[in-house]
Symmetry: C2
Subunit: 366 residues, 2 copies
């Protein structure tokens, strides 16, 4: 079917126009489904089919100002939490006819900012970004971005950004409640870095959870480290050395919990009989572990989906109200520096969900 065109290179509407004996305008119209005379349409379709024509999306983007591409930037694709997001975002984007550009920032702030700024290159129509820390520079950059941006994470409350948050405070709280409810009293906590939003929030939830059940906060029962399996294993050793009497370990994510569980196994302690273990994020690791880990689903998948939908909505809005500033009268509105009439930033929060498995509650039926 693919007959080479008149000249070199792939077929264009020009080749089609020549072969069909019509103008390029007619070709374009037919191919875009606008009305045309019967025989014109036939000639064009025939020529296009014979040449194996496929429209050049770059040229189309240049003319139309839209690339039909979205970008998702996250710290590390190796982390199952982000995988869940990618998956949902990809699905939503695909359904809406958008391609998805993936960007790994390796949790480097400079990189994250670069991604936001690169929107000015007009490589993609919008961005979903999942920053590990949200600095004032992030807020600044995102607020002035050239295209819609949705943040997955928790910017400071005064930042006027579209975002989809996890409620890790009440997530952690729920986990602690569950542990306390099932009779645990000396609940240790292995957290990630305290200078990150998730780290701080989980710490807060842990303390609240304890307080709700009249349990005291004991610094000896807590450890802060990296969000990684080996770090979890090491921290668990430390905690057990310090407080051999602990009866539960709550971990700020599943990786840490996995490490903790492995340490317990290695020390010959039974989970959950001797020590209960709970994690967070409810990744596939939680189901993979033995015993399967109780974990708090912070809704990664849901957040990804919501973020993608929100972004698409912003794009729709932008398409309807083109960002023209009508200089109708004189400069009545003296606010000349803020150039966008901001469309009420939206904050959504995904509700955390506790998923109880056998790492905290012994299986009833074998």
């Amino acid at each position: 079917m693919v007959t080479s065109g008149t000249g070199s290179g792939p077929p264009t509407i020009v080749s089609i126009a020549e072969r069909a004996g019509v103008s390029i305008a007619s070709v374009s119209r037919v191919l875009n489904g606008l009305s045309a005379r019967r025989d014109t349409e036939e000639k064009v379709r025939k020529a296009a089919a014979e040449l194996g024509y496929v429209p050049n999306s770059v040229a189309r983007s240049l003319k139309g100002g839209r690339t039909r591409q979205l970008t998702f930037a996250m710290p590390d694709i190796g982390n199952p939490v982000y995988v869940a997001m990618v998956r949902e975002i990809q699905a939503v984007a695909k359904a809406a006819g958008y391609r998805l550009l993936l960007h790994s920032t390796d949790a480097v702030t400079e990189d994250e900012l670069a991604v936001v700024r690169s929107l000015a290159e007009r490589t993609s129509d919008g961005l979903i970004i999942c920053p590990i820390r949200i600095t004032p520079q992030h807020v600044e950059a995102i607020a002035h971005a050239t295209a819609p941006v949705v943040v997955i994470g928790s910017p400071p409350p005064d930042a006027a950004l579209d975002c989809v948050q996890a409620d890790s405070v009440s997530g952690a709280q729920k986990a602690v409640w569950h542990l306390a409810d099932t009779g645990r009293r000396r609940i240790a906590f292995i957290n990630g870095p305290l200078d990150t939003v998730p780290g701080r929030n989980r710490d807060e939830g842990y303390r609240k959870g304890l307080a709700d059940h009249g349990l005291g906060y004991d610094p000896e029962l807590t450890a802060a480290t990296d969000f990684a399996v080996t770090a979890g294993a090491a921290a668990a050793h430390e905690l057990l050395d310090r407080r051999p009497d602990l009866d539960a370990i709550f971990c700020a994510n599943d990786q840490l919990a996995l490490g903790a569980a492995q340490t317990l196994h290695a020390r010959g302690m039974r989970v959950p009989e001797d020590v209960a273990v709970a994690g967070m994020d409810d990744t596939l690791l939680a189901r993979a572990a033995w015993p399967p880990l109780t974990s708090v689903d912070l809704g990664s998948a849901e957040r990804g989906r919501i973020a993608a939908e929100l972004l698409l909505e912003r794009l729709r809005e932008a398409a309807e109200a083109p960002a023209e500033r009508t200089n109708s009268t004189s400069s009545t509105s003296s606010t000349d520096d803020t150039d966008v009439p901001p469309p009420a930033p939206r904050r959504t929060t995904a509700e955390p969900r506790l998923v109880v498995r056998e790492s905290t509650v012994p299986a009833r039926s074998v």
Copy 2:
């Protein structure tokens, strides 16, 4: 810094040219580092900085014919094997200044073919594709693709495609050797679907491995199912019902192995004392399981990296030898239908690597 340009819209080289009082050609040259008079360069840089200019990559692509984008298409981003690939590909692409487009095909053949064909839209400069099954249509489509394609997988031997293969035959074989070497005699096998390339190859490796050790092939010891945790658990139940005396279960991937291990736990059998378990792919699941799973690393990460490097090399080649057909003399070469002088397709195979963990060999030191 971002002063709004003369007209509306984002700054372009035209705005810069106006502001600097030079031609757009000079602006382009300065911005691309070509030689210019001292004061011209200064004027241009100053104007560009004041306007906050960022080059429009779409226009650039249209002119240059390159998008600086690569596409990776795989069945399902949820699968850790593909995550490993994405990660490596993203890293290589990023280092070379390419963006990465991600495409989930959901293992639908039609979708895979569509991705290959969509290269004609010139949305990306090259494609890495990981088809679940490779049909003649795949081969056909890839051979005639408008841009370089690298296949991760095993096309039929006569297909002239660039590809990076896993050697799952000898991978499976190695696993069986290991089980036999450590004293197992009744080695069961839980496989994935037999009508896929991986399924067939792993079956072959299993049989070879048994034969190498003088063990007979017993259909009662094998099961074929889906590549999923629950499927693995169910299959293990079946096998144990049928042959309670089995002393090892080799699984065609980690998910299946995980399911099998869970079934063993649930039945109160010890791993590895009663039954050894081994998986394949060496995903993070293998490390997450308890006991950690012995697994065969088929080199997903490595294959991703190699595929990306190979693709980049093809792109370099294509850039150097532009696909011009010089009609110098008359049609001496009568081969008129094959339009590309094919540059010797390259087949690479990643060497499988057995990773021994405690699911087959008891830990020595506690």
